[in-house]
Symmetry: none
Subunit: 158 residues, 2 copies
DNA sequence: ATTGGACTCATACTTTCGGGTGATTTTGAC
DNA sequence: GTCAAAATCACCCGAAAGTATGAGTCCAAT
C-alpha cells in the first residue's frame, strides 16, 4: 500500500521534474537560437510528441492490472477405508460360492469386463464366463449388475 | 480483426486531426495576441498537459487490458453420505447429469436391464440406451457396472 | 422469434454378456 | 488311489449392451 503510494508520488515528482527540465531546455534554446518562422510548428510538434509519450508511459505505469481469478476445482475421491475386504467364509459357504468365484465377483463389482478380469487373473475369458455363470446360478440372479447388487446387499461385498 | 484495425486507424486520424487543430489554434492566437514574455511558459505547460492527457487516453484506449491470472486449485473432497435416495442436486450439477439420466442410473444400480428400465419408466429401450450413453460420457466410464461403481463412490448413489 | 437443453425415439452396427454343452486338469478329502 | 468338487478352457449362439448418427418435440431463456 505505502509502496504503491510512494511509487505514484515518485512518478508525479518525475513528471514535474521532466516538465521543468524541458522548460529549461527550451529557455536555453531561446538564448542560443532565434526562433524561426516555421521552426515553431516543429517545436510544438516535438513537445506534443514528448508529452504524448510521457502520457502513454504514465498510463501504462499507473494502470492497475486487472486480476482474473480462475478457480480450478480438483476432485479428490475418498477411497474406502475398507481396503482389503476379506470375504466372510461363512457367507460364502451359505451360497456355496467358491473363492475363485468370489474373486471374479469382486472384480465385477469394480466395473471390469470379463476380458479385463481374465487378464487380471491370467485366465481365459471362457473361464471367467464359466465362473460368472455358476456365480449367477448360486446367487439366483441373471445379470452381473444384479449379482453385484445382491452381493452388496447381503454383505458378500463391501 | 478488421474492426480493431479500423478502430486504431481512427484513433491515429483523430490524433493527427487534433494536432493540426491545435496548431491552427496557436496560429490564430499568434495573430490575435502578442506573445508575452511569461505567457510562453504557460503556453508550453498547457500544451504539455493537453498532450499528456492525450497520451494517457491513447494508452488506455490502445493498450490491451492487463490481466493477471491467478489460478487457485481448490480441492474438493467427495465422500458418500449414507442414506438419502434423493439425488444431491449439486452433485448432479458437477457432472451435468440430468434428472432422467439419474433415474436410469438408479435403476441400473438395482440390477435392471435396459428393457426393464424402459418398461418401468414407460420408455423405449432406445431411449434408455441414449440416456445411459450420455451418462457414461458424463461419468467418463465405459460400462454400466463402472457407472454404478463410480456413482456409489462419488456419492451420486446411496 | 430464436436458440439451446432435455427428452424422446429410431436405425444400423459392433461388442460384450450369458447360456448351453463338453472337456481336461488340479486338488483335497476319504 | 479314488472320487468329487473346483478350476481351467473351448465353441457356438442368441440376447443384451453399447456406439454412432439423425431427428422430432417441448420448454425455458433470451
Amino acid at each position: 500500500m505505502f509502496g504503491k503510494m510512494f511509487s505514484k508520488n515518485k512518478l508525479v515528482i518525475l513528471y514535474g521534474a521532466s516538465l521543468a527540465g524541458i522548460l529549461l531546455f527550451l529557455k536555453w534554446l531561446e538564448f542560443r537560437f532565434v526562433i524561426m518562422d516555421h521552426a515553431f510548428e516543429v517545436y510544438i510538434g516535438v513537445i506534443a510528441l514528448i508529452f504524448t509519450s510521457l502520457g502513454i508511459w504514465l498510463a501504462i505505469k499507473l494502470s492497475k492490472p486487472k486480476t482474473e481469478t480462475i478457480i480450478i476445482e480438483k476432485e479428490i475421491y475418498i477411497s474406502k477405508p475398507a481396503g482389503d475386504f476379506v470375504p466372510d467364509e461363512k457367507l460364502l459357504l451359505t451360497h456355496g460360492i467358491s473363492k475363485r468365484e468370489w474373486e471374479v465377483l469382486s472384480l465385477m463389482s469394480e466395473g471390469l469386463s470379463n476380458q479385463e478380469i481374465a487378464s487380471r487373473l491370467y485366465l481365459s475369458v471362457n473361464t471367467i464366463k464359466t465362473h460368472s455363470s455358476r456365480l449367477f446360478e448360486k446367487l439366483e440372479v441373471k445379470r452381473r449388475t444384479q449379482a453385484i447388487e445382491k452381493a452388496k446387499r447381503t454383505g458378500l461385498l463391501a
